[in-house]
Amino acid sequence: MARIGVFICHCGENISATVDCAKVAEVTANIPGVAVSVDYKYMCSDPGQNMIKEYIEKEKLTGVVVAACSPRMHEPTFRRACGEAGLNPFLCEMANLREHCSWVHDKNEATTNKAIDIVRTLVEKVKRNEPLMPIKVPVTKTALVIGGGVAGIQSALDIANCGHKVIMVEKDPSIGGHMSQLSETFPTLDCSQCILTPRMVEVAQHPNITLYTYAEVESLDGFIGNFKVKIRKKAKSLDEKLCTGCGLCTTKCPAKKIPSEFDQGLSNRTAIYVPFPQAVPNKPVIDKEHCTYYIKGKCKVCEIVCPTKAIRFDQEDEIIEVEVGALVLATGFDIKRANFFPEYGYGKYKDLIDGLQFERIASASGPTLGEIRRPSDGQIPKKIVFLACAGSRDPAKGIEYCSKICCMYTAKHAILYKHKVHDGTAYIFYMDIRAAGKNYDEFTRRAIEEDGAKYIRGRVSRIYERDGKLIVVGADTLMNAKTVEIEADMVVLATAGVASPGAEELAQKLHVSYDQHKFFAEAHPKLRPVETNTAGIFLAGACQNVKDIPESVAQASGAAVKVCGLFSNDELTRDPSVAVVNRTAPPLFSTCVGCFLCQSVCPYQAIEKEEIKSRDGKILKTVAFINPSVCQGCGTCVALCRSKSIDILGYTHKQVYAEVDALLNTL
């Protein structure tokens, strides 16, 4: 005998301004099965929730419909209140009278009638709700951090220091990411590698962290608390246990003309190489695409000179499988290069470089040992033009967003240049100066006032070469859009930050959402910035959106605490809204006929075969079985099953049919 309680909220004036709440309460009281129907100003408030609890006890309610805002807002609130009053939380549903009704229609009879229809639909659904108990699954207390830049490093250290095991996977031969390529960092101008390398070493030596470099995630299976990850360890052609990191092989390798990725193409490396001297792990890998042995079958000099015989040319990629409970994505970002700009020469001018290349030039361990020199002839430039917003904030180039870090690093570049070339002049073409962090504006002011950087507000329409100089043609909008032409020795483009290569493919492997620019999507832009929509996978750093080091570190620690929160329980409670294949009495056992067309439809491989056996072990029937620990509750199998042998708790056949019926039949 159904006894449903209907509680209609005014939501202050949000609902009552257009919906006649008293009338809705009056009409819904007449729906068969409704025991009580009241309206109130603020259902989610303490008095409101207490009212619901009192009615549950007083009227012995078997179900509750709260007609208020969207269930995405307050369903957990009201379900908790019902639970506290002794009613199974899954016997409570919400009718969306605010987002779907009062806020989108005018005040008239049709709106109130629609509100009545919506409530009636949910009443019919709740009458068919069943009490459900949350499903408990064990949690594997190991985290996987994908990406070894500053965000990944911070996350890994935080989680490891909380006592949990961490596996870090980095696709390059060394961790460190882009931060290891920088010379000095804003706004303090401390040396980037000096602050980063201690952390890198800490990761390598931490007892709780297992580091896999030159490795990538191959596949992901499972669900929150119980992920199974396959990691591909690319063949380094090296036995890491024997290698001492002496570096002799890198000095003897004859293939010396390979552009160094770490130096952004400004210097060369060998085929067997360590990306930079402070690399962690400080062991080389062989670049199979450029190694003479792998291409032509000749050489093997490294194998000959290696004192510990650590070279292994026959080494293959290795796939290892690990079980983890949570993932942190920290795959970072990339930047557009000079070849993105037809108006600036398509990258053919050697002295027209991007921000990362300038960092390498300014870096004490870089290709010019820290001296600012032109890549073309090694001369010291006396005039450098910096272009901010190169590609960013430009819908015509497909990048309508602001890349956030460029204003700050351009000011930094101007300061560094001036510190090293006292008689040099830095010009900066800008649109706005975005220096919103702590001490950031003071930093940009310093570039202008102390280091004489000349800021010109305007854009550059063209750059071309003449007599060994780069002619920069721009406009000065603060001087009536006067054309400005500068003969520069060097040009540095502060190019747009973009998603790192392979981000889309990784996101699809992990079932993580991403936006049109391939940045990973956070679960909610304001309230859930470190989570994704995929339970158990968290975000840290620039893979979500280009950001500077302080923010990356902060977000990384945020993701780490979410992981630790997940690991603070031995068991995770899962939403019980899962699909179930029916079981009936013998000799039928189930209406399932074992066609298993449902198996291929499940995105989580939750459907298994179950053999129903007689007492003496003979197989009587093979039917489908859905693992409640794996099922995520999408219901695709439910709609596919011809004999309707599968049903899904929370959206059963009866409920859905009753909702359609109720929606269209007026009282």
């Binding site: 639909t121 079932h511 989580y604 269209l664």
Partner: protein
């Protein structure tokens, strides 16, 4: 003369279109009140028989909406739903059911304005097509059985 007000039922998925409709509400964008929403976990859960039941129970039009391809919260539910709809739509068209009365759409959680536009366009379209009398006539002839 009573203006015909279409009755339209919308079957939407919880993660994208339902959230998108919430956003329409939060943004206070107005749309026609003829559409009432039923929530599903995923478009993959939507049974094709529900479309027939909706028409049988008095709907003049139907909207079915979910996540954009590749964005399904459950990865592939919307792809399976898409194939199911392609086949079902062929079936309905073959039988002379007015498939123009059914709007299929992908509306994401960020597309509040677009949801309102789809609702308004659908309701206007159904208003022009008029009430679905043919279907209603078929349903109401319970006692007319002809065993020719």
């Amino acid at each position: 003369m009573n203006e015909f007000e279409p009755k339209v039922v919308a079957f939407v998925c919880n993660w994208c279109t339902y959230a998108g409709a919430d956003l329409t509400g939060t943004s206070r964008i107005k749309y026609a009140p003829n559409v009432k929403i039923i929530r599903f976990p995923c478009t993959g859960r939507i049974d094709f028989m529900l479309i027939l039941k909706a028409f049988a129970k008095g709907a003049d039009g139907i909207i079915i909406s979910g996540c954009h391809p590749n964005d399904c919260h459950y990865t592939s539910g919307n792809f399976h739903a898409k194939r199911r709809w392609m086949v079902f739509r062929t079936m309905l068209d073959f039988l002379g059911v007015d498939v123009n009365r059914i709007t299929f759409s992908w509306v994401s959680a960020a597309e509040g304005a677009r949801w309102a536009e789809i609702v308004n366009t659908t309701v206007d379209g159904i208003r022009m097509l008029g009430p679905y009398d043919n279907y209603r006539k078929m349903v109401n002839q319970e006692t007319e059985v002809n065993n020719g």
